[in-house]
Amino acid sequence: MRTSADCVIIGGGVVGTAIAYYLAKRGMTDCVIVEADYLSSGATGRCGGGIRQQWSTEANTRLAIESVRLFAGLEDELDADIEFLQGGYLVLAYTEEDEEQFKKNVELQRGLGLDVQILSPADINEKVVPELNVEGVRMATYCAQDASANPFLTTQAYADAARRLGVSIELFTPVTKILTERGRVAGVETARGTIRAPLVVNAAGSHSVPIAATAGIDLPITPYRREILVTEPLERFFHPMIISFSFGIYFRQVKHGAVIGGYGDPAEPPGFNETSSLKFLRTMSWKLSHLMPRLNNVKVVRQWAGLYDMTPDAQPILGELDELPGFFQANGFSGHGFMICPKVAVLLAQAITGEEPDLDIERLSARRFTDGRITQDRSVV
């Protein structure tokens, strides 16, 4: 293992590997990724793989549009199959409040050039998903350019491309301490030795909190368990990711044919709990078979859980910390890190190498929690 580097990236999820790739692409090839377990072992490998552009704030929508643009070119750029599919996102409204908010969202999204349709329940069945049970659905928004990809393949593709450019990746290497010197970051101490570096990126999801704490830094991130399941593979019978904030569900059919999906339990207590619950399996089975009667007798082959790294405004924490120069954060993604990862990683790489980021990431710096500039996005599952 190297004992020094230009930059150490903590976390071998999609965010960490993507940042390493974009740094190396900019010429900073002397980077080391340190991962406590294996690639994609954390939130990345446990997520549903959706890539949505329909957000309720301008900043998030722009970030998402840019990310889809990058995702669409990623297979060529990284020379790998990531199962990228623009199957669309169908967002179901069940309440009057949903409906009002969605209309505002669509106006904003269309203003930013996104092709979003408003669909009546009849339209949903006629135009997008014939089999969907639209009972109780008031309307839906649909963006055909919304997408999905395989999080494992995407992470692997970034990691392989980064390696080809000279980045080294150390697996099963948990970070035990952030090293500081004269008020700056100076590297990391790991279970397998110390790596000295003037730049350190903390992209360890919920585990970013205990890692930052070793340098006396308190990140406003709380871990919450989110559960998910996958069924047997079936011939394709619907294309979009189907989600609803008020009904509480997201599900899609992956390339292999399996249906993958979950929901967030609002009563879930915070904590590093990654066990599976029967309650989730029961509720999710009911929700799925309610919306897609064909799935009534589908076999569930696996269920698992991962952690959302929630911030107070459900937005990530990005950029260098004022209190520890050289220590960059790329965490707190609050359940939508995969979908905005490509653009976020580019912006981080720009910030780290001293380029001017081509989208504003200052609004996502940790500073917002102290100077009170928090804007809530309502489109979080």
Partner: protein, 490 residues
């Protein structure tokens, strides 16, 4: 292909029934599996692989490998190796991923909140009705403790139901008894116990998020139920290992356990001429059983430079003219949609094939007896830590001397806790069942409990002291050391 005469077994076949296979009318017997009935009619190709459309038959025949998935009565992805045949079934070769039938909204089996029927609570739940699971229930039962034993097969006994050979060993009443009869004896003893046996019931999941309860989600005939237990013994057995060689996915490449199931349980000959890969005890014993069923065994090969199994087993098949070729491996299988031949070669001291020593044998079946891997999925789901111990067969749930895992009240026994044999599985099951009783803190004769535990533990040491016990003994010692070193987690 049906075995009509057998020196040891008499096949009690169910009544003959007709069923439909890809539009053809075939006959089978009630009580046998769909895969067995098809095999008896000469059908080996059960599905086409999803990606490359390659022909696939079954491999494990015990519901583990998913190689036998077919469409049955319109339902895709049915494990035909464990699904019993019924009259008038419509069985189809599955060529793609499968399509579920469209259903009206609100139809089907899922209740308003998705819950299954409540099966109540029990002090001890046991997963697996093989030698370990049945022993756990019997010994807990002797102390008056109630249990529920769940097994996905219709017939209890686990792998014992296909063991036609007599057991060795010093065990009081099981030495010189055939495996199949041991299973029957254990079931008879179970009948005297306050234990309930749920056969044909799959454990879908094991949840430990409501301590001290462990909740088992069960499925029988498509209906789901939930059982809550204070303690659980996982006696889930093992899966047969595959070997990678060219065309190893051709129908006719079967695990040794699958061959035993087919011929000793259902009375169906796996083929006419077999190449046996693996000269450990399983390879040698199954080789002999094939000969008993009048199936030709072309050769037994093993990459090791010596025979791994008991020499008495080797001598028996050698006397019947079967060559045992050590330092040999299989290079490829040949055939279009089923095995027609196998190419083998000698290997050097680095396990590499020696060029020029290849030879091709005409066989229609290749039987793999190349080891087993413990089934620890349920334990893993319950949150049990695991350890990699090669001597025990790979990843195994960490456990202490009482076979308790890192999750208090969850025990693991038999092949699931490390690959050994049926005799040790029975003793481990006993020990785990008794340790579970101890953990329950119920009113029992404590002196008797400790004496019974001691008896089981010393029986295990005795069996592992033999010349073939080295590997598991080392494995178990390593496991205890590993479990002790992480003891602080408890």
């Amino acid at each position: 292909m049906r075995i009509r005469e057998h020196p040891i077994l008499e096949f009690e076949r169910g009544r003959e029934v007709e069923f439909d296979f890809d539009g053809r009318r075939l006959c089978g017997h009630e009580g046998e599996t769909i895969a067995a009935a098809l095999h008896a009619s000469g059908v080996r190709v059960l599905r086409k692989s999803i990606r490359h459309g390659r022909p696939r038959g079954f491999f494990c025949a015990i519901g583990r490998c998913s190689s036998c998935l077919m469409t049955v009565d319109g339902v895709p992805n049915v494990m035909t190796c464990v699904t019993p045949l019924r009259r008038g079934m419509k069985v189809e070769t599955q060529t793609g991923k499968g399509t579920l039938a469209a259903e009206a909204k609100g139809a089907g089996s899922i209740a308003g909140d998705g819950s299954g029927s409540d099966l109540g609570t029990v002090p001890l739940a046991i997963v697996g009705a093989g030698p370990a699971g049945l022993s756990a229930a019997v010994y807990a039962g002797r102390l008056g403790v109630e249990s529920v034993v769940v097994d996905e097969n219709e017939v209890p006994g686990g792998q014992l139901i296909k063991q036609t050979h007599m057991f060795f060993g010093s065990l009081e009443h099981y030495a010189r008894v055939r495996g199949v009869d041991i299973g029957t004896q254990l079931c008879r003893e179970l009948e005297k116990c306050p234990s309930k046996l749920l056969t044909g019931t799959t454990v879908l999941g094991l949840y430990t998020d409501d301590p001290p309860w462990k909740t088992l989600s069960l499925m029988k005939n498509g209906v789901r139920g939930e059982l809550r237990a204070r303690t659980v013994v996982l006696a889930t057995g093992a899966s047969e290992n595959m070997l990678a060689f060219e065309n190893c996915d051709l129908p006719g490449v079967y695990g040794a356990g699958a061959v035993q199931t087919l011929m000793n349980v259902y009375g169906v000959a796996p083929g006419e001429r077999v190449l046996m890969v693996g000269a450990g005890n399983i390879g040698l014993i199954v080789g002999y059983q094939l000969l008993q069923a009048a199936v030709d065994v072309a050769a037994v090969i093993d990459a090791m430079d010596e025979i791994g199994g008991y020499h008495v087993h080797a001598a028996k098949i050698r006397r019947m003219g079967v060559p045992i070729l050590t330092s040999h491996t299989i290079l490829s299988a040949g055939g279009t949609d089923r095995v027609e031949r196998a190419t083998i070669s000698r290997v050097d001291s680095d396990w590499q094939p020696v060029e020029g020593t290849e030879r091709t044998i005409d066989v229609d079946t290749i039987c793999l007896a190349v080891g087993l891997t413990p089934n620890c999925e349920l334990a893993s789901m319950a949150g049990c830590d695991d350890e990699y111990v090669p001597e025990l067969g790979g990843l195994v749930s960490a456990h202490d001397a009482d076979l308790e895992t890192s999750v208090p009240g969850v025990f693991i026994a038999g092949d699931a806790s490390g690959i050994e044999e049926a005799s040790t599985a029975m003793l481990e099951g006993r020990l785990a069942g008794l340790a579970a009783v101890e953990r329950l803190e119920v009113e029992v004769d404590r002196e008797k409990l400790l004496a019974m535990k001691e008896e089981a533990a010393s029986g295990l040491s005795e069996l592992r002291a033999g010349p073939f016990g080295d590997r598991p003994r080392l494995g178990k010692e390593r496991m205890l050391a590993l479990a002790a070193s992480r003891g602080g987690d408890r």
